[in-house]
Symmetry: D2
Subunit: 351 residues, 4 copies
């Protein structure tokens, strides 16, 4: 930690001088990372991408070429250490997160880390601890639904008390399709993880148990895969959360959430603002085709909040504890898929 | 009128003894008449069809054969005069209505007359006068929307004052298709006539002027036909009613009504109770294919109200004045189509 | 059974001569029975109430007085045996059903029995067997949702294959309020029982297991009551059914059902046909206040189907096996409430 | 024009060097201008406000103080001439627009001018001509609905041909309330003007005639004011556009548009993505309270498009001709209010 301390001394808490743009290294420029590069470069104010890294060199080159002033850095740790980097956006594959996030902490750089924080519960907890020892929040985790106007409205309805005590939460999470290799474990870690954070965000407490009920599978799923599944969370205070996860509907991207309170209920994600009729004798609208169409604005808002906060050397959104809690619940969820039993979520003490 | 008086004497005001069923002659058994025969025979309580009449003998035979105890009578006036007839349902072509309704009045039989009451304003007014001289309401006109639960709810919202003073009314009336001969005049007399009655029912006053704006026509319409058209009514107190009439949409049967009041607005006809998604990536529902699907229950309710009232020798629904007013407005509407001008509706004094 | 046999011989299979009305004894005229008496007397064709029975003599008198030609019979078995009774509608309290239904079977009278068929699984099975020995279906059970146009539509979507194989079913069942004594067991037997039948009707197979998850309770519920609860069924083929049962929402009567198929999903019960805006700055509609407003038309359609069938000496709707299956599932459901475990449903062989 | 020529020479067509931010002078910082200042400073990329002008000195000071690096310039023409200004955003009162826009043209500065372009048809046409003589598009007019995702989607449905030939357009434009002085002429010039542009945008042609029907007025309107009104446009090709304009509903901001095509219809502005139930027994959502909530994102998107284009010395949105056409139609609309007649729109030749 000696070197880290040195680094800390050489770098003020608020990383960016007034008027200057936040210089961002983006690690991993697959679909999500490239989308963020574009957001930082054209839709968000106050930052610019200076360094691009990807294990696929040609992809890194291609993305860097699209951004004036950006260069490629082949080694992610070198990118983090680069003198023209004030903050880091991690969109690399999950297994790379642990080392990359810790390197950012070592340099005390603000970081926006796409989920998962790390791929196992122990490393995630160690990161929580390391950040706590620094005494500053530097890690923001990419749960972008917290920036979606509809989830924000739902949270307001909870906080304001208009719906009374929230008793149940019903989530629907459907994708038109996924790669053939997307198995039950990935359904938990990549898809259900969003509802894990949504439930924690809306209800304001931790998830205590997970149960998964595997029903009849769609023929679209490979033999032996469970799709759809019903995931049931119970929270510390005994609230019940259901999540239908169905990733091969052939229909579209349907993400709906109904919160049932003591005084009323509210549903978001209805996608009902444009309605038309047609010669097929039907009325209705188009289902959002994918997550960028549905949550694109939330991603940009997430970026803008993060950039604004990172310029002050902090975060403005879900932090490392939220990332850790999601890893812990997903860990239990994966075991619940395997055993068919209700599994208790085990979490460390919050520092 | 002497004969009529005799008839009156020979027949008590309440035509049907307690416990007995109302014996109905149905004149005209095309789509509408046959639907009513079926309703009187299987969905409505307290009546049965005893006599069937139609200018097409085979159609009359076919319908009568489907009803136990019903017989054919080739002459509509003989049907009205038959000793086993307590009430008459007129679903014959419009030009036959005048003579048939007057024959019913002469025998003082309760009558349910499909619109139009008659095909010209003078004969319609003479019927209003003749009924007024009898001193009893015997003529109910088949404006079945008044029995539709949604229009009833809308009327309640007006009457209760919840919407405040109703200022505007916007109507949409669309059919998937019509026979090739269905011209602008028929659009007024057969389609818009429903909105004429709806406007009078909801607003509780007479229509004072009619204007018709012929816009760009659909290619589905024969050369020279105006489809769609925008019809604009102004009422005696100056309220504005718009009606988009479009009868060749190729889509379905769409009948919507929005009432705009001083304190709020309300829309009915939304057809939104069943929603589904499909592999076409759309959400939504099916548009009602035709008027029986949309208003079938209202027709049956109309029949039940009429049967209950006719057993007491009276009506329970829109009367001859409502039929007359609709004829008068449609008369002006047809002229408005021809001239493109705002045409004043001319109506006689209400007896 | 000797006397019964005599009765059978003295009474033809088709109980009612052509043209005559079905004479119905109604046992139990609380809210539901009185509603049925009114339906049989004014909204349904082909039947009339001749005998009224209730353990509360004054209530029976009051209801009988409202129907011309109806009389009170103080003893339900005497009512069943009365010579002016062709069929029996049982709306008495559940514990009385077993003896009353068996008396109807003994006289081979068609019967419409409100749920539950009986209050325990053994007596219900004995009724199934007794009817099977008769070789005719005489018992129809009052699961009226099968006659609701929206459930019928949903069933059609399943049968037609438009939604593909149905994989999950999500039900919501909410009441504004219930009597203070309405406990978790009653929530299963009186409320969830409808979803039991809906699931069997829509999916066309039996329910194999039941699990109940009791979450945080509303403050409106008495201490120690579980409201809301999440009930989870798995069917023989492994489909998953969820049912949120919440009977003290203070909001209204909300009954929604979403079927998730391999090719798409469909939701009914949306209550969205009338929409309005108001000075409170909200758009929307009124939630159905109670079950009669929501399912009144289904009840009448059920009655009409039953009357038509009973005149031919048979049934047209869910039968004794459906009543038995519901009892069996509810039995398991009540145990599931007690134990918190997944409980297997035990059912006898279908005769 | 000599001075102008000089200015042109001294300033390259593409006003901003790569990498540099567009320096914007904002003229008029009332509600709209202040909102734009905030947008340019925190939500839009590539520009910053350097100069703020308002006839109310204190307001200008207050707004400038909120933006690092911005200063006040008391004279709008001096602001336009300032060396640290690359582009101008005009949000001053309408009567000031003519002189300010012409000054921008003289300096060949890109300008985003809030509607109206000018307050009379002749001055508007002279601006169109002056810009045409320059041979470059510099004037973008603030019809922000063209940047709203729903209008964009509706336009796509027209362009793609999915709805077939558009035959009618029905617009609803309602405000909860307006200042007491907001009279019929202002309803045309400030409110209906949006539907003028929407109709031109969606239908892709000019409006030929305007008619205004004044119905019963709400009691909320001052004596002699006409609120609501029905405005009817006919386009060059004979399409019909209706616009209900009602600015004192007491309800909220309701802006809906239904396009009726030969092959189907589409409606936007439904505001139905969040739905809730409550103890008032109603389901539904909140109506957008005002234009910033409804169109805030469209305003920002408009700014971003304009900034991107202005950096290249051009526009990306509705131009001076669109501003002129709107003035011409509103001129006719105001006369239509006065006369009650159908008024022909008079427009100059498009340069």
């Amino acid at each position: 930690m000696a070197e880290t301390s040195t680094a800390v001394e050489s770098r003020p808490a608020a990383a960016v001088p007034a008027g200057a743009e936040l210089r961002v290294a983006v690690l991993g420029v697959g679909v999500m990372g490239a989308f963020h590069v574009e957001g930082l470069s054209s839709r968000v104010r106050g930052a610019r991408v200076t360094v691009v890294n990807d294990y696929a060199a040609d992809r890194a080159e291609q993305v860097a070429a699209s951004v004036p002033g950006a260069r490629v850095e082949a080694d992610p740790l070198a990118a983090i250490d680069a003198p023209d980097v004030d903050a880091v956006l991690i969109a690399s594959p999950g297994p790379a997160h642990d080392e990359q996030v810790r390197a950012c902490l070592a340099r005390q750089l603000p970081v926006l880390c796409e989920k998962p924080l790390t791929t196992d519960i122990d490393s995630a907890y160690r990161i929580v601890q390391a950040e706590a020892e620094l005494g500053r929040q530097l890690i923001q985790v990419g749960f972008m639904r917290r920036f979606d106007s509809e989830y924000v409205r739902l949270r307001q309805l909870v906080v304001s008390g208009e719906l009374g005590n929230p008793l149940m939460l019903h989530c629907t999470h459907r994708n038109a399709g996924v790669p053939a290799t997307f198995d039950s474990e990935m359904m938990i870690r990549d898809s259900v993880v969003h509802e894990v954070d949504v439930a924690r965000f809306l209800l304001g407490e931790e998830i205590a148990t997970v149960q998964v009920i595997k029903g009849a599978a769609t023929r679209r799923a490979p033999e032996g895969f469970n799709d759809p599944m019903l995931v049931i969370f119970e929270t510390e205070s005994g609230r019940v959360v259901t999540d239908e996860i169905f990733v091969r509907t052939g229909v579209g991207y349907e993400v709906r959430t109904e919160l049932v309170g003591e005084l009323g209920s509210a549903t978001i994600g209805l996608d009902h603002n444009v309605v038309r009729t047609g010669a097929d004798g039907r009325w209705g609208g188009e289902i959002t085709p994918g997550f960028i169409e549905r949550f694109g604005a939330a991603y940009d808002r997430e970026l803008q909040h993060w950039v604004n906060a990172a310029r002050r050397g902090t975060i403005d959104g879900p932090g490392s504890w939220d990332g850790y809690a999601a890893v812990a619940v997903c860990e239990a969820g994966v075991e619940a898929v395997r055993t068919g039993e209700r599994v208790t979520v085990t979490m460390g003490r919050r520092p």
